[in-house]
């Protein structure tokens, strides 16, 4: 076995690191195998600078047809597994064809990289950024090493941020008016609002506010929509009477939210909704869903 393992083991180790790796912010990233690792965080227009270290296994030489490093931005649709769609692809040649006998370090730099989309790990889609080092070889497979990193982009607070105010109800049965103070929230924001009961003829048991994420992938007939409930937040316990007003204060920080993504590269969208759910004593649910826009705010993160 050892022999066999040894036989398929790559003849060298490849390390990819960022120059400012120690000071750069690290964020968790969930890998395919389910493990979470900490990776460097970047935003669009940043310089991605670092070095690649290739270290042949002791006593071995590595023949190659050249060494390159690529910066890839990929969208991976799970129903179309195996097909990555690269929306960004930058290459730097690190070495001309030759042989490697000993450890060698190659610095690299991608300047002001345009990374318009954020890293995203959804139900049916993944958007990821990777650095890919390839040692090309003849007759045998190339030696490849990946380094993930995460991109997050910040947007300034919206200049217009209207409240959401709405009167809904079932005729002669339930009539409520609700208000959320804003329609756009940053990820650590707080949803403030209130529900005003204009008419209550059903025996309500409780009321919840849900945060729902709607991820749609593909297009046309091949559109897949996946809705997740990220938060169930009880707003009210018991049966209110006409005239009661119930406060809403929902802190968004405990939940793993992303900004709203609209039609990312024509491949997918992620939208957020506040879903107000009223439950009566027979466990019937009455709800009203309102879209909210999420954005990433620099100050708050």
């Amino acid at each position: 076995m050892n022999y066999l393992v040894g036989a398929f083991k790559p003849p060298c180790n490849i390390f990819i690191s960022f120059t400012d790796g120690r000071s750069r912010k690290q964020v968790p990233l969930k890998k395919e195998n389910g493990k979470t690792v900490m990776v460097a965080l970047f935003q669009s227009q940043e310089n991605i600078v670092g070095e690649v270290v290739i270290e042949p296994i002791h006593g071995k030489k590595v023949e190659h047809n050249g060494v390159k490093i690529e910066l890839l931005g990929q969208i991976e649709l799970y129903f179309d597994r195996g097909n990555f769609y690269d929306f960004t692809s930058l290459v730097r040649e690190l070495d001309v064809p030759g042989e490697l006998y000993e450890r060698k370090t190659y610095p690299f730099e991608f300047s002001t990289v345009e990374m318009p989309y954020e890293s995203y790990n959804g139900v049916n889609v993944r958007l990821r950024y990777i650095l890919k080092v390839t040692i090309s070889r003849n007759y045998v497979s190339n030696i490849v090493e990946y380094q993930d990193f995460v991109v997050r982009n910040y947007t300034p607070p919206p200049s217009i941020n209207n409240s959401i105010k709405m009167e809904v109800g079932i005729e002669d049965c339930l009539h409520i008016e609700f208000e959320y103070s804003k329609s756009k929230y940053h990820l650590k924001d707080v949803v403030i609002g209130k529900i005003y009961f204009l008419l209550v003829r059903i025996k309500l048991k409780n009321m919840e506010l849900e945060i729902r994420r709607r991820e749609s992938t593909g297009s046309g007939p091949n559109t897949y929509v996946e809705t997740e409930t990220l938060a169930k937040f009880e707003l009210m316990d018991g049966t209110p009477v006409r005239g009661e007003s119930i406060p809403i204060r929902l802190f968004l920080s405990p939940y793993e939210l992303t900004p709203t993504y609209r039609n990312i590269n024509n491949k997918f969208s992620v939208k957020y909704y506040l879903n107000l759910v009223l439950v009566d004593e027979e466990d019937r649910r009455y709800f009203k869903q309102q879209e909210i826009t999420m954005y990433r705010n620099l100050e708050a993160s």
Partner: protein, 736 residues
């Protein structure tokens, strides 16, 4: 039902177990300074309070368990060296909890520390807490949550002088907070009636009353706020509390809260806001027991008035009486279905109030009585015994207060109220009146008042229509009539003319009393008349009275016992008369002795006759002193005694009453001592010897009473002998 209780026990046990289980992990987290875990387990622990299965009483048990644990948690939260999170962040952190009830309990707990830290003004935090608590709309859970809020905030209100005092209007913030919590709690409490757990109305009301103090506690807190002065109470606190009370339209809550207001706030506040407070009463639900509320208010104010005379001007200034009187009128008018006892209770309270506060205002008293008459006249027949009791209380109150029936007699409505009593109660009340007169020794000195008085006690004076004579208790009747007789003596005026009027009135009333009453009353009347006649030196009137008395004696008094009593009265009276000339006196004494000798029993004859001896010997400066006729009477008495003795011998073969002789002996000694020359020591000596012989005779039954009587009589003689001086000398000649 049994099953329900068992189930409830089970659920409670499960709840407690749940709390203990999570509290265990919470403690572990606290000990290891693990905030995350502490929050997690405390929230889980508090989730046990989300149950809907328990009655308020059981829920309270569960709540108290959680409450104790929250105290530990609070200590942990307070010490940020343990968890390293600022109180501001902590305040946010606890709000991440998904379930509202645990979230709000935790929020209140942290809020308490937040206020203490003074990182935010107390009023901001309190306002936030009281607003957020709106999320719990379930009555029981909401009430307990808010009661927790009230509990943790009590010592942190931005009151004047408190360390949490803010800028201007700081007290207002404290008041606003408590009022809001109160309002919300009351709404929840009232809502229980309509959607609460209890299925049966009775059960539900019981459960609700178990929770009432949670609501009332807020009013107590308000009353404790230093900054709530009269001004603020008047302008803000009371109107807002009353607004809630009136608007909640729930009888249970209204009754409890009105009472609560009256009990927790100071009396002087009530006095100064009487109009507002009373104004709310007619707005309450018709089923609310307003009378008790008002009664308690008046009781409190009465006590306040009684506490110090300094406060009395306040009462006058705010016209407390007329306000209360108006309010009562309105309430009685509005609540048509109020039972008579309710209305009368109200009047009793009002009367008590005015008697304490305005003892000088008899018109108030009369006004209250008048209102009561008005109410009573709308009731065909007062049959409720409780109502009757209240009427008696109403009528007794002025008597007790003034200690003087004369005052009560000036109340025009007093007799009108009495008219509404049933016969028994009327008599009872009449007795109360008479007793009051006796106790206070009040003298009724005008004819008008006597007239009113007799109108009041007419229940005792004559048979009332419809009265069931058979039901009368002999003892009670005697007691009553004796009282009337005593009362007649209290009617007196030195002015002969007025006195005559009084006598005429009394006569008018007593003469209709019928044969059962007359023996008791007439003698008093006669005495009274004679005293008047005697005092006025009008011989012919006095003579006429006596003649009439004899006529009555002959015609009306048939019972032998009554005759004895009457003749003794006549003798006694005649003895005291000094108005008669010789001729009239002779006639009268002759008659008296004549009647005496004609009594039915020998013993009675004997006693009456020896009593007559006093008619000839008045121990006054210029009283008659006819020793000879005294002796004649005594001798006659002896003869009768002898005859009695013989009759007894014949009838039973044994001796008669020796004591009669001893009695006569005493009379001898009396006159002997008074210097009647006709009574000699030898006569006394003879009599003593005679008695001794009689006593030792075989035919005489041993009579210990007579023995003792004789012995003490002899001892008296012995004593007089040893006295020496004139008396001693006199008695010297009697040998024992």
């Amino acid at each position: 039902m049994l099953n329900g209780t068992e189930d409830e026990e089970k659920w409670l046990a499960e709840g407690i177990a749940g709390i203990q289980h999570n509290a265990f992990y919470m403690h572990r987290a606290l000990d290891s300074n693990n905030l995350r875990e502490a929050l997690k387990y405390s929230a889980q622990m508090l989730s046990e309070l989300r149950t809907s299965k328990l009655s308020p009483r059981k829920y309270y048990e569960l709540y108290m368990r959680a409450f104790d644990e929250l105290k530990r948690l609070e200590l942990f939260f307070k010490d940020d060296s343990k968890h390293g999170v600022s109180v501001v962040d902590l305040y946010e952190l606890v709000q991440h909890a998904g379930n509202i009830l645990p979230r709000l309990y935790l929020l209140c707990t942290v809020g308490s520390i937040y206020i203490k830290s003074k990182e935010a003004p107390a009023k901001e935090v309190l306002k936030d807490l009281v607003e957020m608590c709106r999320g719990v709309q379930h009555p029981i859970r909401g009430l307990f949550l808010r009661s927790y809020l009230a509990q943790i905030s009590r010592d942190k209100l931005p009151d004047i002088g408190s360390e949490y005092e803010g800028d201007a209007d700081t007290v207002m913030d404290a008041v606003d907070f408590v009022l809001q919590n109160f309002t919300e709690m009351n709404k929840l409490w009232v809502r229980m009636q309509h959607q609460g757990p209890g299925r049966v109305r009775e059960k539900r009301e019981k459960e609700r009353s178990e929770l009432q103090d949670l609501v009332g506690k807020n009013l107590h807190v308000l009353s404790q706020i230093e900054g709530v002065d009269l001004e603020m109470y008047k302008e803000t606190v009371l109107p807002r509390v009353l607004e809630q009370v009136v608007n909640c339209k729930d009888d249970l809550a209204q009754y409890y809260l009105m009472d609560c207001i009256i009990q927790v706030f100071p009396d002087e506040y009530h006095l100064q806001t009487l109009e507002t407070l009373l104004g709310a009463c007619p707005q309450l639900q018709p089923t609310v027991d307003v009378k008790t509320v008002l009664s308690r208010l008046m009781d409190r104010l009465s006590n306040y008035a009684a506490s110090s005379t300094d406060v009395l001007p306040e009462f006058l200034q705010v016209e407390a009486f007329s306000k209360l009187s108006n309010a009562i009128g309105k309430v009685i008018e509005a609540q048509v279905d109020m039972p008579a006892v309710g209305a009368i209770t109200l009047y009793v309270s009002l009367l008590t109030f005015t008697l304490r506060v305005h003892p000088d205002r008899l018109d108030h008293v009369d006004q209250v009585l008048g209102a009561c008459v008005k109410k009573l006249s709308n009731i065909p027949k007062l049959e409720d015994s409780r109502a009757m009791k209240q009427v008696v209380a109403l009528l007794s109150a002025p008597l007790e207060k003034y200690n003087d029936i004369v005052t009560a007699l000036t109340l025009s409505n007093y007799p009108r109220v009495m008219d509404h009593l049933d016969i028994g109660t009327n008599k009872l009340m009449a007795m109360v009146i008479i007793q009051s007169i006796m106790k206070n020794n009040s003298c009724i000195s005008t004819a008008d008042k006597v007239e009113v008085l007799f109108e009041l006690i007419k229940g005792l004076i004559k048979d009332t229509d419809g009265a069931d004579v058979d039901e009368l208790d002999e003892e009670d009747f005697k007691e009553e009539q004796n009282s009337v007789a005593r009362l007649i003596h209290m009617l007196y005026n030195d002015e002969p003319e007025e006195m005559l009027k009084i006598i005429c009135i009394v006569r008018k009333h007593t003469m209709v009393g019928g044969p059962k009453r007359l023996p008791f009353t007439v003698s008093s009347l006669v005495f009274s008349a004679l005293r008047a006649a005697n005092g006025c030196d009008i011989e012919h009137v006095a003579y006429e009275f006596f003649t009439q008395a004899f006529v009555l004696y002959e015609e009306e008094i048939a019972d032998s016992k009554a005759q004895v009593t009457a003749i003794h009265l006549i003798i006694g009276t005649l003895q005291r008369m000094n108005v008669f000339g010789v001729e009239n006196r002779d006639t009268l004494t002759h008659k008296a002795t004549g009647y005496s000798a004609r009594l039915l029993k020998k013993a009675d004859q004997c006693r009456a006759v020896y009593a007559c001896s006093h008619l000839f010997w008045v121990d006054d400066q210029d009283g008659i002193k006819d020793g000879e006729r005294v002796l004649l009477c005594l001798k006659r008495a002896l003869r009768i005694a002898n005859a009695a003795q013989q009759m007894a011998n014949v009838a039973r073969g044994s001796g008669g009453p020796v004591s009669l002789f001893v009695e006569i002996l005493n009379k001898y000694i009396y006159f002997f001592e008074k210097g009647n020359k006709q009574i000699t020591s030898s006569a006394i000596q003879g009599l003593i010897e005679f008695i001794n012989t009689e006593m030792q005779s075989d035919s005489t039954n041993p009579d210990s009473v007579a023995d003792a009587f004789l012995a003490s009589t002899l001892r008296y003689i012995q004593f007089q002998k040893q006295k020496g001086g004139v008396v001693g000398e006199k008695f010297e000649s009697i040998k024992l």
